[in-house]
Amino acid sequence: MKRLFAVALGILTAIGGFLDIGDLVTNAVVGSRFGLSLAWVVVVGVVGICLFAQMSGRVAAVSGRATFEIIRERLGPRAAGANLAASFAVNLLTLTAEVGGIALALQLASSVEPRLWIPVAAFAVWLVIWRTKFSVMENVTGLVGLTLVVFAVAVFLLGPDWGELAQQALRPAAPASEGPAVYWYYAIALFGAAMTPYEVFFFSSGAREERWTRRDLAQSRANVLVGFPLGGILSVAIAACAAIVFLPRGVEVSSLSQIVLPVALAGGKLALALVIVGIVAATFGAALETALSSGYTLAQYLGWPWGKFRRPARAARFHLTMIVALLVAVAVLMTSVDPIAVTEFSVVFSAVALPLTYLPILVVANDPEYMGDAVNGRVTNALALVYLVVILAASLAAIPLMIATGAGS
């Protein structure tokens, strides 16, 4: 019974913790402009993150090392250093977007301007990291984030033309009003939103935080293979809500306040309250993960003691890194930069940086010296190689498409 409860909790946490500000914004923007014609990218992205998270979790559990410890060992300090610089920068951009997302969500609940919420949000993130146990932190935000299931409920309550939605989803082509370059730009953005590098840093380091061993691999597999796809369904639900309400009206999503309007249309103030709570939880949870990832990556590369399982005094530089990262995020946001714009850039640059973490994990997952008999099987490797090609293609195309389309405008 206890085991079943732990498995259920893990899956529910994975569902609720799947979405972050990148998924919320990107799926809503895409739904309002392309309908469900990019839903296939969410499927591709979810399968990819399942594969990636499953590999990195297995590597951490079997080898006893987290991502950047392995990257440094395997690639050597120089190559790993370049990898670190790029991954850390993208992670910092994502952290900035998440803290901004918390502030925007709190504005919806309070009418208080986001710039006033930004330092409060960052302080709250730091305080939770400082004082709260890892498992409590992960489970609470994941479970509260489950309220975002209201998007899926809203799709039904809106009474859409299911035939039209199915046609959009099954016809993966740019609508007449949008060009192919913009279509593929947003395909990469959606892919980047589903496969953000911080998820893997957090997942593998979290495996060390919770002292996973081989016995925990089954549960990790259940969390990932059940939780993430169900979380992916919520992503498609967000796009569907935007497609049903905004696409016919010629409204293009560019703010968080627009994202909640379809939910209010479907379910009134109760649904609105649930979605705001869910967005706060999702962005807060993601801010915790990205802040921790900034500490994990730097500390693991430089060989500093790291982890919440250590008292802060014993991992001072790990905690200092996170404080500095949060301060940088606050400083950037206080320049009045639009957090939605930061989010849109962060998901694209996530796609650019993805090969830097994917390739080392793939290499180590096949290395018997680290993995013993737990190396990738043939099916996993076949899928992993397909994804390597997809990830490399997305990474190479992202910036040229960003330039050519004016960042999707």
Partner: protein
């Protein structure tokens, strides 16, 4: 062999450059009666803002939205319509016909701005009622739609 390779690279680069410059010479400046796509983009932005404002106002009137969220949505819509206005005011039309199109677009976006401002005033309990606000937003949307259709038809 190396010299041939270098020469081929130079020819290819020159070809790309000429093609790119030729591409620059095409477009609105070389087709005076065609509407500048930037005008249509700005009108689309304003249309999107008016659509959001209309939805937010309707939901607030029906009691399905809180005043806080409605105000935030309307403020965001004002920001978008402001960006559309900025895009138009900074546009330098290449000829009198384009200037006329630009002025019409500015008037339509100005009407949209007034309608969204009025909606926000009503949402904050300052003035007006939903019927008047709704009529204003519908009027702005119709004006934007009519102008967009006319400009797209001329390009």
């Amino acid at each position: 062999m190396i010299h041939r390779g270098v020469r081929a690279t130079r020819v290819a680069a020159a070809t790309v450059l000429v093609t790119a410059l030729a591409g620059c010479s095409l477009g609105p400046a070389s087709a005076p009666d065609a509407a500048d796509p930037r005008l249509v983009d700005a009108l689309d932005e304003a249309t999107s803002a008016v659509g959001t404002a209309t939805l937010a106002a309707d939901l607030l009137d029906e009691g399905r939205l809180t005043a806080t969220v409605a105000d935030t949505a309307l403020l965001d819509a004002l920001r978008v319509v402001g960006e559309a206005d900025d895009a138009l005011t900074t546009l330098v039309p290449p000829d009198p016909s384009a200037a006329q199109h630009r002025d019409e677009a500015l008037r339509a976006v100005g009407t949209a701005t007034d309608a969204v401002v009025a909606a926000r005033g009503w949402a904050n309990g300052v003035e007006g009622d939903h019927a008047v606000v709704s009529a204003g937003l519908d009027g702005a949307a119709s004006a934007l739609d009519a102008l967009t259709t006319r400009l797209e038809g001329s390009s």
